[in-house]
């Protein structure tokens, strides 16, 4: 694998142009399923017809009730072309750009970003994916296993670790080493792992030092100075940032130490993220089109407890809920450069603080594998682990029941 040619320091960094971002309010509904990698289209609840583009009423029966519904992903290319001279600057910079008109198996036809190997008359598999503007678009690739890495248009949507430099913020996280291994295996050019309080023993240090392409760097998210200093070194180099920083102390809300402990957890999870954002997000956003492997993604590894308040983890949940509340600002800042914010919700991990939790618990390897796959797929949200998925589902259905169940220890 060839490293990208080093940047010519005399040349201006390319401005991160974005594809057209304007959409109707209804079309914004497509963002969440696209971010989760689901293929869901508006379907009339009254007559069952799928509709495209997203309408305000079903064109068949005029019902206004068109919930997004999982749709068959197949289609046939009616027609295909290559935009050689697109009017839009983003596309012109990346031309030629393949576009197809596809008759979807679910009914309507649609314009799509077309895989280079798909042509008129071919069967295709459709994906709903987020583009660099963070908007949902359709992509079609020939049916069967395809090397998506060879499709430059797909690569524009994805955040493939290939040839990119990655910062994992907390080397002590259970997924840090597996992430470094998985990212390097996926072609990452360099992985830095942040280590706080280097004066405290870190059993994983040797394994990381032994990993070619990986390097430990000092980083304490609780310190303005530490985060700022690392950004001065690496701010202009990080193309994927994976924030693994976490501090877990369980407890109901009432123990005397909970506020102090929560404050410390907030220092790591919420204020730490804020410090990272301040120092790294603008730099990454400014490099959204820098070179052949520009800044692409920021991943927050977030315990699902941030979304599903757990009565036995009050402070922990509070800290991560606060961190989650920073996501919109972070997403919008990164979005100015077309850099994706991905939230990876994790269930209880196979670590000391969850020792009383029943299995299945997450291994670091499972977290790493899913995050790398989601980066390649350009997703902005993923839920890792059966327990996390189960909690979210139960929480959506009936949050008070889940609260009572969790308080009783019924996981």
């Amino acid at each position: 694998m060839q490293d990208p040619i080093r940047k010519n320091p005399l040349k201006k960094t390319r401005t991160a142009l974005l594809p057209p971002a304007a959409r109707s309010r209804k079309a914004h509904l497509l963002i969440p399923p696209a971010g989760r990698g689901e293929f869901a289209l508006p379907r009339c609840a009254a007559c069952g017809a799928f509709a495209w583009p997203v309408p305000e009423a079903c064109p068949v029966c005029l019902s206004p009730d068109l919930p997004l519904t999982a749709a068959p992903r197949g289609g046939e290319v009616i027609s295909a072309t290559t935009a050689e001279v697109p009017a839009d600057l983003y596309f012109r910079e990346r031309a030629p750009w393949r576009v197809g008109l596809v008759a979807m198996d679910c009914g309507p036809q649609a314009l799509v970003h077309l895989h280079p190997e798909a042509g008129q008359g071919d069967r295709v598999r459709l994906s709903l994916v987020l583009d660099r503007a963070g908007q949902a678009v359709l992509h079609a690739a020939p049916e069967g296993e395809r090397d998506m890495a060879s499709d430059p248009q797909w690569q524009e949507m994805a955040a493939d670790p290939r040839r990119r430099r990655v910062l994992i913020t907390d080397a002590r996280h259970v997924a840090a080493l597996p992430l470094a291994q998985a990212l390097l295996a996926a072609g990452a050019r360099q992985v830095w792992l942040g280590l706080d309080e280097a004066w405290k023993p870190f059993a994983g240090a040797d394994a990381i030092r032994a990993l070619e392409g990986a390097e430990l760097v000092p980083l304490d998210l609780r310190s303005d100075r530490s985060v700022g200093d690392l950004a001065r070194d690496l701010g202009g180099k990080v193309e994927i940032l994976v924030n693994t920083a976490d501090l877990l102390r369980p407890g109901m809300a009432f123990a005397p130490s909970v506020p102090a402990q929560t404050r410390e957890m907030m220092e790591v999870a919420a204020f730490g993220l804020m410090r990272l954002m301040r120092e790294f997000a603008p730099a990454m956003a400014s490099r959204g089109a820098d070179g052949t492997a520009p800044a692409a993604a920021w991943v927050n590894v977030t315990p699902v407890i941030a979304r599903v308040p757990h009565p036995r983890f009050t402070g922990y949940g509070t800290a991560h809920a606060a961190a989650l509340a920073l996501a919109p600002a972070l997403r919008q800042t990164l979005g100015t450069g077309g850099v994706r914010l991905m939230t990876a919700f994790t269930g209880p991990t196979d670590t000391d603080w969850f020792d009383a939790f029943p299995h299945p618990k997450l291994t670091g390897r499972a977290i790493a594998t899913e995050i790398v796959a989601a980066l390649k797929a350009g997703r902005e949200e993923l839920v890792i682990g059966d327990l996390a998925r189960d909690w979210l589902k139960r929480h959506a259905e009936n949050p008070r029941a889940l609260e009572a169940e969790l308080a009783r220890g019924q996981y």
Partner: protein, 387 residues
């Protein structure tokens, strides 16, 4: 049922405000020039226009009503038709019925758009929700990609080739060179056409029109009014209009004309072969081919063979887009939906000057407009007959 005709309704006073590639004037300036042209040509004061039809994409923040005050008009009726290539036929049909029913006496139909280097981009931003949601995000800002996809499918379905498209463009350029106001001044050969830069195959550079600033206008009135003013006029022999004609078609291989063509010829009491000239909507030559088919000049899918044997120039056996059409004269926004109508009015009244088809009395004019998502939605056609 048989549709009612337009007995006693005529068109007069063809006006073209010469096009410019770019203009620093606002659209209202171009509308003002067109209204002044109508008054000068007809001898009827603009204050006496009691109907005002405006077709424009770029008149914002004004629609037709605000501009009545701007220009000192006091019409009994206004209508605003920012509907692109179908707008000419639509304005005419509304004006004709108003005159026929006695709601108005003299209706000014005006199409005008200005053009600056950024106009195209501004225009895109507010064109259509479906295009905004499901076309522009695919690198398909502007109509080229959408039409390329339709053209590709049309070629696959009919066997038409780029040479077939090219012959239309080449003949039109020959016509356009007769038109002193046409923006494209250089002769075009078939080799030039075939060798031009690909934009979105099969669409190449000379398939595309050049956006520009300009205005087209005409008056609609009763025949006796025209006679009293001593104005040359053309009768409206027939018209059709249809929007989103075949929503179930997977791709647009036919336009709305195909649905109403029988009404058109029945109302006119004529056949395609009776036409002395044809003005199609030519934003891409293959769309003109589709119109020849759907308007009954040949069977579906056979326009390529049909046109191969015909001479489309002013002096040929099937004069087509005699002033060069939009491909040679330029596309002045909504005026592109009126250019064929105004040229046909000149032709059948013998006022076309250098582009005049000898002895022209009957003309078919077709409109097509508003590429939205995957297809052009609006279609219409009229038959004009000189007195």
């Amino acid at each position: 049922m048989a549709r009612r005709g337009y007995d006693g309704v005529v068109l007069a006073a063809p006006v073209t405000v010469p096009y410019q590639r770019y203009s620093t004037e606002s659209t209202a300036w171009w509308i003002g020039r067109a209204l002044a042209g109508l008054a000068a040509t007809s001898g009827i004061a603009h204050r006496d226009f009691d109907g005002f039809m405006l077709a424009s994409f770029s008149s914002a923040p004004d629609s037709a009503i605000g501009l009545t005050q701007h220009f000192g008009l006091s019409p009994r009726m206004v209508d605003f038709l920012p509907m692109g290539g179908a707008g000419g036929v639509m304005s005419l049909r509304r004006a004709a019925r108003a005159v026929q029913a006695g709601d108005c006496d003299v209706v000014a139909c005006v199409a005008a758009d200005t053009n600056g280097p950024q106009s195209f981009r501004y225009g895109l931003e507010n064109f259509s929700r479906f295009s905004q949601d499901a076309v522009y995000p695919y690198g398909a800002g502007g109509p080229n990609v959408s039409f390329a996809l339709i053209a590709q499918a049309y070629m696959a379905a009919t066997g038409a080739t780029r040479e077939d498209f090219g012959r239309i463009a080449v003949a039109q350029r020959q016509n356009g060179l007769r038109n002193p106001h046409a923006l494209m001044r250089k002769p075009l050969s078939l080799e030039d056409y075939l060798g031009s830069r690909p934009i979105a195959p099969p669409i190449h550079l000379f398939d595309c029109v050049m956006p520009c600033a300009g205005a087209e206008a005409f008056l609609v009135m009763r025949e006796e009014t025209a006679r009293a003013q001593g104005l040359p006029f053309a009768r409206l022999a027939a018209s059709i209009e249809r929007h989103n004609a075949f929503p179930e078609d997977r791709v647009m291989l036919r336009g709305g004309w195909a649905r109403d063509v029988d009404d058109l010829w029945a109302m006119a009491g004529m056949r395609p072969a009776d036409m002395d000239l044809v003005q199609t909507y030519d934003d891409y030559p293959f769309i003109s081919m589709m119109q020849f088919e759907d308007l009954g000049f040949c069977a579906k899918g056979e326009a390529a063979a049909f046109l191969r044997d015909r001479d489309l120039t002013v002096t040929g056996d099937l004069p087509h887009n005699t002033n060069g059409g939009q491909l040679s004269a330029g596309q002045a926004g909504c005026a592109g939906g009126h250019i064929g109508l105004v040229e046909a009015l000149r032709q059948v009244t013998g006022a076309a000057g250098p582009t005049q088809v000898e002895g022209a009395r009957r003309a078919l004019v077709s409109g097509f407009g508003m590429i939205n998502f995957d297809r052009g939605l609006g279609s219409g056609a009229v038959v004009l007959e000189g007195a």
